[in-house]
Subunit: 400 residues, 2 copies
Amino acid sequence: MTGNAIDYSTLFNKDLPAPAAQFEGHPKYNFIGGHSDPDSVPMEGFIEAATNVFSGDPKYMSMYSLDGPQGILPLRQFVVDKLRAHRGIEITTDEVLITSGSGQGIQIINDVLLEEGDTVIVEEFSFSGALNFLRKRNVNFIGVKIDDAGIRMDHLEEILEELRGKGIRAKYIYTIPTLQNPNGSVMSMERRHRMLELSAEYGVPIFEDECYADLVFEDKYEPAIKALDDTNRVLHIGSFSKNLGPAMRLGYMVAPWEIMSRFISAKADAGSGVMDQLIVGDYFTNHYDEHIQNLRAALRRKRDALGSALRESFGPNVEFEMPRGGMYLWMKFPNGVDVRDLVAPALKEGIAFNPGPDWSADPEAAANYIRLCFALPSEGDIWEGVEKMAEVFRSEGALP
Amino acid sequence: MTGNAIDYSTLFNKDLPAPAAQFEGHPKYNFIGGHSDPDSVPMEGFIEAATNVFSGDPKYMSMYSLDGPQGILPLRQFVVDKLRAHRGIEITTDEVLITSGSGQGIQIINDVLLEEGDTVIVEEFSFSGALNFLRKRNVNFIGVKIDDAGIRMDHLEEILEELRGKGIRAKYIYTIPTLQNPNGSVMSMERRHRMLELSAEYGVPIFEDECYADLVFEDKYEPAIKALDDTNRVLHIGSFSKNLGPAMRLGYMVAPWEIMSRFISAKADAGSGVMDQLIVGDYFTNHYDEHIQNLRAALRRKRDALGSALRESFGPNVEFEMPRGGMYLWMKFPNGVDVRDLVAPALKEGIAFNPGPDWSADPEAAANYIRLCFALPSEGDIWEGVEKMAEVFRSEGALP
C-alpha cells in the first residue's frame, strides 16, 4: 500500500511551534540552561537511598499514588521540614503538592488562575519558560523593574495603581525573590514586607518561585516571602532540580487547602514519578545539610572562576554583579550590541550561552545581556570557554 | 495584616474542575484504576539496576537531557529492540520519544493534531483519560462499535463515509487494539489490515495505543497495526506503567521524523524523569523476558480467580468475556441497572470499581457496565471482595 502515505501537514494544529531539529550533541563550553554540577551529584548516596527504597513496600511501585495525589508522604514531610528549618515557612503535608519539576507548578498555577486576555505582573527580566507559557496563553504580562535588591516597589505600586485605574486586577505578581533568574539578586527584607502590603492593598496574590533559594552561599539569609505572610497571599513553589539535579523532574507547590484543592484537580498527569520521589525523599531526609554544603562550595568555586575569567578576558567592557549564590551570572554589554547576532558564531566554536532577550518580558530591552550558567562546566572549561567567547565576540565586533 | 486575605474564588479560571477532596486512603477491595500487581514488582532487580545506574556517568543526573530531548538512549534502544522482537515494528531510536506515561503521549498527539471543533473517532468504550482529554478540548468524538475482535470495520467505514459526506476529515481513529481498555478484546488480523486500508482510503491516521500489549498471556500473538503499515499511517504509543509499574511514569511514542519533530517541540516539560529512565532501561535490558513471564503468570492467576469468583457470586445475571491478558474485566449487568447508583454503597463496604459510563463515549450506553481491575488485590481479596460486592449489589436491587 505504499503511495498512500498521509500528508500530515494538512492535519497539524495551525498554532504549532517550529519542528525540533535533530539533536547534535551538547556544546563543549556549555553555559546554557539550568544544568547542575556533575561532581556534586551524590551517586553513592543515591545507591544507598535506592537500596532503602527498593527494600520497602512494593505497593509504592505498583500503584499510581499510594499516599494520594499530592505525592509520597516522606518527600512531602521533607519539604515541610526543610521549609521550616531553612525558609521560615510553617505548613503541614496537606499544603504540599509534589510536581514534575517547578515548571509544572507554574503551569498549574496558570491553569487555575488564568484565562486568555488576563493580566499578570512579572519581573522585567525573568525565567524564559514562565514567559513562554504566558505568551502561549495569550496573557498580557507587564514587566516590573528590578535591581540588585529585587523588585523596585515604587514601580510595582505604579503598575498596580495604573491597572486599578483601568479597572484591571492582575491575577498575580510572579517573582523569583531569592537568587533571581537571571539577575541573581536577593530581594531585601524591606521590599519583601512592602510587597506583601501591596499584595493586600490591591488584592493581587504573590506567586513566589524559590527554585534557587537553597543555593545562597551563606548559612543565614532572607526568609521566603511566604514566611512573612500571615494570611494566604503567597503561592509558593520550589524545585529539586537545582538543589539536587534535574534528572528527577521534581518540584513542589505550597498553598492553603482552598487553593491546593484546585491545584490537585488541575494536575491531570496521573501523578509525578514515585520512584524518584522515594529516592530523593530518602536521600535528602538523611543527607540534606551535608549535600547542600558540598554543592554550595562547588558552585562558589565555579562562580569565582567565572567572575575572574570574565574580568580577565572581557575587561571593563561588560558589567555584572557577582551573585550571592545560585548558578547564573547576568552580564551586560555596551548599548548597541545585539547578543542574538553572537549566538551562531559562538556555537560554531563550541560555546553556548543564553541570549538576554529570551529572559526578558520585552526582548529588545535585554538585547545587550547574556546569561551564563556556571554549574555544569569544569573550572578549566570555564576559563577556556570564556577566553574563546571573548575572542568570538571581539571578532564579531561586539567588544573593542 | 490578618484580615487582608485574598478571595481566590474571584480569581479562579471559570472552567475549573471541581476541587479535590482530602485523600482518605485506598479502599480495601480495590478494583479501580490501572494499578499493577505488587508481588510482581522486581524490587531486587531494581536495586541491581539502580546500583549500575548510579555507578555510571553523573552527567545523566546533573543535566536535563544528556542524550537529547527524546530521552535517554539506553531506554530508547530497549524500546526499539522490544518493539522489533515482540510487536513486529522496525524503527530506529530517532523515531522514539520517551514520555511521562502514555497519558502524556495522548496529550502530545492531541496538541499537535487537534483544534477546538475538530472531529476524531474513538472506540465506543475507551480509556476514560483519553475521553476526558477530548472533552476538555471541545473536540467532537464519534464512538465506533467494538466486539470481541476489536473495532467493527463495517461501522468504521460507515462513519468515515458519513463524515466525508459532510466534508469532515477526522483527525485520527483512536484504538487500543491489543487488550482493549475496557473490553479486553484483541483486534483480529483481518481487521488490522482492513483498518489500514480504510485509513489510506480516507486519509485519516490510526492512533494506536498499545499500553497493554505486552500482557497477552501467550507467547505468540497479533503484531501491532504499526507493524503492518508500510507508510506513515500509524502513530503508536506504549507505556511502562502496565508492564512494570506506574511509579515510574514512563511511556513512549513512535512516529516517523516528520511527525516526531512536532511531538518533540510540543513536549514542553523539560524532559521526562531521567533517573527512572535509566533504572528502567537497565533493568529491562537485562531482565525483560523473565519479568514479563512472571507478571503474566501472576495476572493470569488473578484473572482466573476473578472469573471464578464472579461466576460463583453473580451467577448468570452478568455477562463477561475472559480477557486473553491484561488486567481488566468488563462486565455487563441486565438492562435497567445503573451502576452509578452502586458506587457509593460499595465504597461504604470498602469496595471500589469503575462505573462503565466513565469508559464510554456515550456515558448512558454503558450505564449497566463496570470495569474491574484484578492486578492489585490479592487472590484472597478478589474472592472476598467479589462476594461482598454481590451482597451490596443484591441489597441495592441490582441483582435478583
